[in-house]
Symmetry: C2
């Protein structure tokens, strides 16, 4: 394969730092679409290095595989993506990123005001005010923060 324009799965693995099995998995999930040679072995384009690198970075930011697939779907079909394709997708990615960071910071600031009152479960607690509720992401129980009916715990001091 030395000197060829196409990469074997092993070569791509070396280039990206992914394992061979992970790359096969990503193909299954639609993140890459390798060609096959007559023998049935996968042949990747050089542009796939970049593609998978994007997957790695996006995962680092906490995006799921289907989030990432959605982003990658914005890349051109037939030809290898060029610089402006990547710029476009990176900008879009960045928007999601900013939202995520902002959400975290907002939550953190609310926690700050809660350190003052020591609450974390009272009706009045800002962390429990709806509005964030709808924007909840990721794992966790079905019922969401702020969705719950009336939380109150009057005795805050621990005295009996």
């Amino acid at each position: 394969m030395k000197g060829s324009d196409l990469l074997s799965i092993g070569e791509l693995a070396e280039r990206t730092g992914l394992t061979v099995s992970a790359i096969r998995f990503y193909e299954e999930k639609g993140l890459v679409h390798p060609l096959r040679n007559r023998g049935g072995q996968r042949r990747f384009m050089r542009a796939d290095i970049r593609r998978l690198s994007f997957v790695l970075v996006a995962q680092e930011f906490g995006f799921t595989i289907s989030d990432i697939a959605a982003q990658l779907a914005r890349l051109p079909e037939g030809r290898a993506p060029n610089k402006s394709d990547w710029t476009r997708i990176s900008r879009e990615f960045r928007k999601h990123l900013d939202e995520r960071i902002e959400r975290m910071s907002a939550l953190r600031d609310k926690l700050d005001s809660c350190i003052g009152c020591g609450c974390l479960s009272m009706k009045s607690c800002q962390l429990y005010n709806a509005g964030d509720a709808a924007s909840r992401h990721g794992r966790g129980p079905r019922y969401l923060l702020g969705d719950s009916p009336e939380i109150d715990e009057p005795d805050i001091s621990g005295r009996r």
Copy 2:
């Protein structure tokens, strides 16, 4: 159970917005330690509302159950935690939080400089410079960003 000092699992579920099964699961993971009545049913203290609320908030921030268990272990054993106990734990929590947000922001800023070059897989790309590598968290392939041997993809323009 009306008017009692102790809560049944169903009542706690209503108060926290968690499902009954989730609370049982959290007990199994050591996040709460309910008493049992003669019949073998769980009886929770009011302070457990706060405890589980903390679990919810912490999860919202992306902490795992064992991370959270580690934090909760800092609460007093025998007595119900009071305001200053919660203040202490919230402050600790906040430290982890700040780290996490900072890591994300740093990555985002690096992405920014990459939007300029459209790279995302080149040797020179800041996203691939080691240093972040060690700090990687969460899911993803075993090989980490920056751990990979020599990544280079000279043809960046997409021209053939």
